[in-house]
Symmetry: C2
Subunit: 354 residues, 2 copies
DNA sequence: TGTCTCATTTACATCGATGTAAATTTGATG
DNA sequence: CATCAAATTTACATCGATGTAAATGAGACA
């Protein structure tokens, strides 16, 4: 019998056909160096003849790892996370790992514990990109497998963190519109529940930029958005417009909000960038093709993905000694496009200290 | 010793702590009905105490399946595929399966064989959404595990297919602009290599619609696009504009192309929809928020995902008898938005047979 | 040719779970 | 209380691969 009665061929079958031991087949396939050329050829011939493919479950059981990493994101339908997933999959693939994606928003409103969700699967480590995470979630991050969190470091967490320089990036975005002479700069995306995580850092960047120009912060220009979706961007801008508070620029905490805001401004006849300059954050692909195209902060997703993968795999493959949690900051880039560029508002005394 | 020296607890450890056999623990965990309440409680206590989690690799090895499905898409960074993946993950999750996503475009230009790529992983079945697939690819689809292809049926393929009614949908889209009085309808997205797969069907829908109105097809209005990306939409529209051929509507083979076209039209000062009506295809999220918002054909992604998952899992769990390949068509919906709506072009004799 | 060394190949146990079938307990009945 | 059937629980083999250590083979050298 050339192969098992039913189903795929096993190493057993290959060994029998090649007339060698099972271990020799294993050696050949795993690239063990002390295998004679003759043997290798004989085994590979049998492998080809039987269309043999290794049984991954059996190998995983034996070696105790799966070479599968988890990636937990809120929803793939949000462009930022889809593009992030793309980058993570590529970075992982280059190091011989596969990525299993878990969506943490299942019922469209509630974020579930990614970590708990991943336990069902056998993964070697997890990259977790939470929507928002606060100090209360520390214990959720205290797990017994390698975990890299994308986003602001949580106080007391033992997990590794990779995050872009949110404060500086948002400060740069805000300084950009200030440098164009705008002085009434609104911001969209503050969290209703108070400042935590990413939103807090970005808000801080905004505040610091205003301070640099000696401008006092106007609470009426700080608009909240419960979720960073386009719909909420539309809704937030509608609120701002309805309030009647004057403004000549908006910096948004992500591109989806900005695109929504763009839409609302357009609907209400505000010219962009003449009347209002708009800046987003994330540099998702749409932003380059919107009308007008969107000025935004690019977070260098590839760099984030690469760093996260490297740290995670080093933890997985490295020695057991538990080093201190890492906290890596990645760079950013301000991409100037039509929604802000080209139109400088002249003021009596443009520049610092208006 | 309460548990293995190093690493996670095993069923062995749980059994020892609870003072029962390993099989009883297995029975409790797998919900076997003939287990006394007392036993169940005792075992679950031990499970909790040891933080026991089942070893998925061992279980998979024993039962011979993994409850993991593959989903092969070109790139997650394309919104359509990200939204599709979202839908597939949800549908699979509802039936207790996990989804492993494989990107078939790795070097940004060449599509690799998804099926070959999946062989590395241990999946129970595969959903394959190819970019384009022609008759030459039949053997690629002739595999020995359950496979559902999303897209036009390939002649001679033994795989199951789930596809939307491309011809009818595109016909409806074209009829829509014709009903607005437009008579010079361009199309963007034809394949340079000749008509195959999805592009062929959509082109046919366009042709049929023109025929219904007794309009002769003008080859100058059929614009090719090698890839259905925004950039190619921009480039295709630039070509059309440069050609000087008059047109008052464009139907695009997907939303990305349409958004690119929108952008190019805007740049060249054409008013939408006054001068040119634009229609897309796919109903990705951006389309509702572009300026102007995009009229498009919604393919009911949830329905596609659900059908594909149901067929695939039925094949996996069903009896071995190989039924004839299934070919399921899913519905569509024309979503009218700003890029076409509201502006009717009056003609001497608007209506059938101009 | 005999002996020793180093390179290859092999036998066997093992990873952690589940299916099979047998052993044991439980409870009903005469 | 003995007997039998049904309900529970258990022992053991097994899924398909790899690590360990021992067995075998091939040269090298005296």
């Amino acid at each position: 019998m050339a192969r098992s009665a039913r189903g795929a061929a096993t190493m057993q079958d290959v060994a029998a056909l090649a007339g060698v031991s099972v271990k020799t087949v294993s050696n050949v396939l795993s690239g063990y160096e002390h295998v004679s050329a003759k043997m290798r050829e004989r085994v590979m011939g049998a492998v080809g003849e039987l269309d043999y493919e290794i049984n991954v479950s059996a190998r995983n059981l034996r070696v105790g790892s799966t070479r599968v990493l988890g990636l937990a994101v809120p929803e793939l339908s949000q462009a930022y996370f889809a593009e992030l997933a793309d980058a993570v999959i590529r970075a992982a693939g280059a190091r011989g790992y596969t990525v299993l994606i878990e969506q943490t928003i299942v019922d469209r409103s509630l974020e579930i514990s990614a970590v708990a969700a991943m336990r069902r699967h056998s993964i070697d480590g997890l990259i977790y990109s939470p929507l928002a995470i606060g100090p209360g979630d520390v214990e959720q991050l205290d797990v017994d497998f390698p975990l890299v969190v994308l986003g602001e470091r949580v106080e007391g967490s033992r997990a590794d963190h990779v995050t872009m320089s949110n404060v500086q990036a948002m400060k740069a975005a805000t300084l950009h519109v200030l440098s164009l002479g705008r002085r009434r700069v609104a911001v969209i995306g503050a969290q209703p529940d108070g400042p935590v995580g990413t939103a807090a850092s970005r808000l801080r960047g905004y505040t610091e930029a205003l301070a640099d120009y000696g401008i006092e912060q106007d609470p009426d220009l700080i608009i909240t958005a419960a979720l960073w979706h386009r719909t909420y961007g539309v809704e937030a801008m509608e609120r701002l417009l309805a309030s009647g508070v004057p403004f000549d620029a908006v910096v948004c905490f992500n591109d989806a909000l900005a695109l929504g805001a763009l839409r609302a401004l357009h609907k209400h006849g505000r010219r962009i960038p003449e009347d209002v300059a708009v800046v987003g954050f994330d540099d998702i692909e749409d932003s380059a093709y919107s009308t007008p195209s969107l000025t935004t902060v690019s977070p260098r997703r590839d760099e984030i993905a690469q760093k996260a993968i490297d740290i995670l795999i080093d933890r997985i493959e490295g020695p057991d000694t538990r080093l201190a949690p890492l906290h890596v900051e990645t760079g950013y880039e301000l991409i100037e496009r039509e929604s802000s560029a080209g139109v400088r508002v002249e003021r009596e005394a443009a520049g610092i200290s208006s």
